[in-house]
């Protein structure tokens, strides 16, 4: 059955006026020609009613533009898919109960900020007692044994130590993303995991402010977690995944907050 179209346009101060604000820099001096070039640039993107409101010389050879224009494009919102939620997200107690009842042992997780990245605040937020935004970290869950190796950890070290404790999941944090260094390092992690024979066996999670599930799975991880992730999101993911692995839960059920 074809879905009914649900056309979505930008809203400036009335429905469907298409108003969008843009700003950008051209590496040329400020001039009338520069302004005209900015106007043409935005028109070329398909905007109508382009107003180059501001053009400032940010330096001898750079001009910064602020533009408002109307986009004539529409997005069919009905076409935008996200997985349906069928299972409620479990809270702290529920997670621990499920682990105790259905798994019967503690789940072991290892985490670190690997490579040359020193940003520990993100991985600490997920693993340490304190947690994040009022949500306890995995260390605090009786159902988890959580090891946080800190930052600047070589991928190989993390994998070796995780194997030594038969980890169920490895958590890799990547915060610095300039020139896609996080992707390079993540690929290197996956290579090392494959070499160690744990790829496809141990759950591999990637997280960080520029990470999303799509990117992570493309890179070879099982799941990706972006900004605002709560420890309980990770706890839910790990528990459900282990249950699925053990055949105790079907892969077609989805739960709230599941990366996807």
């Amino acid at each position: 059955m074809a879905k009914e179209k649900q056309l979505l346009r930008a809203y400036g101060d009335r429905r469907d006026d298409g108003m969008v604000q843009l700003s950008f820099t051209f590496p040329i001096p400020l001039s009338e020609r520069a302004k005209e070039a900015a106007l043409q640039f935005v028109k070329k993107m398909g905007f109508a009613d382009v107003k180059v409101h501001s053009a400032e010389a940010v330096a001898d050879h750079f001009t910064f533009f602020i533009v408002y224009a109307r986009s004539t494009l529409a997005i069919d919102f009905a076409e935008i898919d996200v997985p349906e939620l069928v299972v409620q997200k479990m809270d702290f107690d529920q997670v621990n109960r499920v682990i105790e009842k259905q798994i019967g042992r503690k789940l072991v997780v290892f985490g670190a900020c690997t490579g040359t990245d020193t940003h520990t605040v993100g991985i600490d937020a997920i693993l340490n007692m304190k947690g994040f935004a009022g949500d306890y970290g995995l260390e605090r869950y009786p159902g988890f044994d959580a090891y946080n190796l800190g930052s600047q950890v070589p991928n190989e070290d993390l994998i070796r130590k995780a194997i030594a404790k038969s980890a169920d999941a490895i958590l890799v944090s990547q915060v610095v993303t300039q020139r896609d260094v996080h992707k390079d390092n993540s690929r290197q992690f996956i290579e090392a995991a494959k070499a160690a024979g744990i790829h496809g066996k141990v759950l591999l999670l990637l997280g960080g402010p520029r990470v999303d599930h799509k990117l992570a799975t493309e890179l070879g991880f099982d799941a990706g977690f972006g900004p605002g992730t709560k420890p309980s999101d990770v706890a839910n993911y790990v528990v459900h995944s282990v249950l699925r692995k053990q055949g105790k839960e079907s892969g077609s059920t989805h739960y709230q907050g599941e990366p996807g």
Partner: protein
């Protein structure tokens, strides 16, 4: 900064405690040297090339001495030995030394030994003289083109490519920046060498190399002349090569350096002893070269909570100050770090931030201070982030910060775009212009929240200084007192580069610098 009602006597007491806290560290420093300190000695003598595969000559030479177990007599001594063997140039000296077998490194007669030292001392004096001459060129340029009034607006460039950095630094200067910082590539602090030459690839920043320093300073000298306003340059003297970078910076006439006695320990997991020893020589060089150091206490409150841990910043500043003063730095060279980092979701954060910044001003009235913008609680909502930065601009001018890092509206996303700096500079110029002198307009109420909070934070800082005094700074770091990060004395990177000095350890530069 009048008011805040903290007794001068209490402040003097904090200073006294800090001095006693650093006493045992200075014993450690006196007794030991490091590979990087020794490499710096060689750099001071003019060794700055690189061998095959880009390995700096100073590394080749020091590694050789280290593995031969003779570094404890000081690289200067061996440098003298090579000269004495007829080395025509520093390069030649390296080659000669690195080809020597352990047996060739045996002792000389006392007389030869004495001549050698005298000769090396003379060369060291000449090298220091040349360094002083270079610095005086910088001072002359500064005198010709005076800087803008403080707070000096400090922005970073971080393209990874020194030539792109130059474009952006010039643009920033034209847009009103007073200080340009070239952020280093993320891994550099863990490198136990200083890369060589101009570089065009780096992650999250550009490699700090002597050549990159030169390229950038040259561009900024030009820009200073064009704008008729001296533009300062800064970089990072942290990590495993603190003193070497300090030398490169001094030689290339940089104006400031990020340089902290404990940052590497806490945030880069560099060994404690290594850092304490390295920082000393690096600061001696800064003292000589009139370089302003910027310390890193602001980092503590990116990992720990800025409200709860405000006192750790103050306590650490007293300790950093003591380390600095004992390395010969003057008050006007102390860009002690602090920042506007309290969670903006809390009530009364402007009062809290003013209180903290005023307290720092009160404790260090003659230091320029280095004020950092909000970073940790920055949002990807650039409009909000910009408003948030603007309040830090206000506190900076209010509390007469000498050096103010400008907040970037895209802080939570990426290293700054060219336009981000422009936006920050334009707004900061407005706030500084609009509010300059505001501190002279008001008297702080002695029973207000600002004064009370300052007293409370200072009180806790005294307690922490007391703890460091009683149990030692090493133990305090071990308990995670600074930045919630725990480190042990023998953990971390670079301990293998620490060497106990032999009784006849020789370092003519230290002799000059400590004189």
């Amino acid at each position: 900064m009048a008011g805040l009602f903290i007794d001068d006597a209490q402040i003097a007491e904090a200073r006294r405690l800090a001095h006693e806290i650093t006493n045992p560290i200075f014993e450690l420093i006196d007794r030991n040297t490091t590979v990087s300190t020794e490499r710096t000695v060689l750099r001071l003598f003019g060794l700055n090339g690189a061998g095959a595969g880009g390995v700096p000559l100073v590394n080749l030479m020091v590694d050789k001495l280290h593995s031969a177990g003779v570094l404890n007599r000081g690289a200067a001594y061996w440098y003298g030995r090579a000269l004495q063997m007829g080395a025509a140039s520093p390069l030649d000296a390296v080659e000669r030394l690195t080809t020597l077998s352990a047996a060739d490194l045996g002792p000389l007669s006392p007389e030869v030994e004495g001549n050698l030292r005298a000769e090396v001392r003379a060369e060291a004096r000449a090298a220091v003289g040349e360094l002083r001459r270079r610095i005086s060129e910088r001072e002359a340029l500064k005198a010709e083109f005076p800087m803008s009034p403080t707070p000096h607006k400090y922005v970073i460039v971080a393209t990874g490519n020194i030539y792109d950095d130059v474009d952006q630094a010039r643009a920033a200067a034209q847009a009103g920046a007073d200080v340009i910082a070239v952020i280093r590539s993320t891994a550099q602090s863990l490198l136990d060498y200083v890369p060589h030459g101009a570089t065009t690839e780096g992650y999250g920043g550009t490699y700090a190399t002597q050549e990159n320093f030169r390229i950038m300073r040259e561009a900024l000298d030009e820009e200073s002349r064009k704008l008729r306003r001296y533009i300062q340059l800064t970089n990072y003297s942290s990590g495993l090569c603190m003193a070497e970078i300090a030398f490169c910076a001094a030689y290339e006439k940089l104006d400031m350096l990020l340089n902290d006695a404990m940052y590497g320990i806490l945030f880069r997991d560099i060994n404690m002893r290594r850092t304490f020893i390295d920082q000393y020589f690096s600061r001696r060089i800064c003292a000589l070269a009139g370089i302003i150091i910027n310390t890193g206490e602001d980092n503590y409150i990116t990992t720990a909570d800025a409200y709860d841990s405000a006192h750790t910043v103050i306590a650490s500043q007293f300790i950093n100050e003591s380390f600095a003063k004992r390395a010969g730095l003057q008050d006007e060279q102390l860009g002690l770090g602090h920042s506007y980092e309290i969670d903006p979701a809390r009530p009364e954060t402007l009062l809290l931030e003013l209180s903290q910044a005023m307290l720092v001003r009160r404790c260090f009235p003659d230091a320029p201070l280095k004020y950092m913008p909000p970073t940790k609680h920055k949002e990807t909502d650039i409009f909000f982030s910009h408003a948030y930065d603007v309040m830090a601009d206000l506190v900076a001018v209010w509390t007469r910060q000498g050096i103010q890092l400008l907040g970037m509206m895209t802080e939570a996303m990426h290293t700054p775009l060219l336009s981000d700096r422009y936006v920050a500079l334009k707004s900061a110029a407005y706030i500084h212009r609009a509010a300059r002198g505001i501190d002279g307009e008001f008297t702080v109420n002695p029973d207000g929240k600002i004064a009370q909070r300052a007293r409370e934070v200072f009180g806790k800082a005294m307690e922490l200084l007391g703890e460091c005094h009683g149990d030692g700074i090493v133990a305090a770091i071990g308990r995670g007192r600074f930045g919630d990060v725990k480190r042990s004395e023998t953990g971390g990177k670079g301990l293998e580069g620490v060497v106990e000095k032999a009784p006849d350890y020789f370092n003519p530069f230290l002799e000059i610098l400590e004189a």
